[in-house]
Symmetry: C2
Subunit: 138 residues, 2 copies
């Protein structure tokens, strides 16, 4: 299950991407428009800034803005930062690999190969969709 954090983060990025001008967008505006708790959203925006998706400007008239073009932001990257691994099991994760305690050998594990297939299917979808693709969906 996708956490609310990730969901809100994606919505916020999409909201910013939808604006034509590149003027900073305030968290308060996004929180109102997208029905997200403002304080919670603030912490998410901060994380998106620290991980290089957003820039920010402080003070009056400040806000957040995209650093890259929406078309260059793959959803895999966004989800990995906000949610963590895309794989359903750590032992098939490309970016967050962890060995299972119980499995003596991954090659003979019945769950392993199945989850690799699921992972690859998800990666295909999330890797082909960019922020631009999802921002202008309607």
């Amino acid at each position: 299950m996708l956490s609310k954090k990730t969901k809100y983060g994606i919505k916020a990025l999409a909201y910013i991407a939808r604006k034509k001008d590149r003027k900073p967008v305030q968290a308060s505006e996004i929180s109102e428009s997208e029905n997200i708790s403002q304080k919670f959203l603030e912490s998410i925006m901060l994380e998106l800034r620290k991980s290089g998706f957003l820039g920010s400007k402080k003070g009056k008239g400040g806000g957040y803005y995209l650093i890259k073009e929406p078309g260059e932001i793959r959803m895999t990257a966004v989800i990995r930062v906000l949610e963590g691994p895309i794989a359903m099991v750590p032992c098939v994760s490309l970016n967050y690999y962890e060995k299972c305690d119980d499995c003596p050998d991954e090659k003979t594990c019945s769950v392993h190969k199945l989850m690799i297939q699921v992972r690859d299917a998800s990666l295909d979808v999330l890797g082909e969709n960019t922020l631009e693709d999802i921002a202008f969906t309607q």
Copy 2:
């Protein structure tokens, strides 16, 4: 992330499927062979029985056995029972649908369409794999 419950459940089903005869398999045997806490596994086996995947026989020489052929058990069904929804967001779940609090309209939600794609990709994989497919993977 797949819960351990689901992971253990799949492993247990695969273990039983691998046996040629249809004699009941004890939870204790599975728990030893697959390195799963016995008490925890017991509760999982019970759930698998109540949901119609397994039959059971009590008392000495008892255990659990498959009710259907492994080739007839789709992994979608197993995961839905043990884990719940396959979708990453309730609002795109086929079997566990729930409306989002924040979304006024799913059709204009940027997350929605993306998650439908992910869901469908996962469903493809999990629907095409049966217990037989994953039990005899090596």
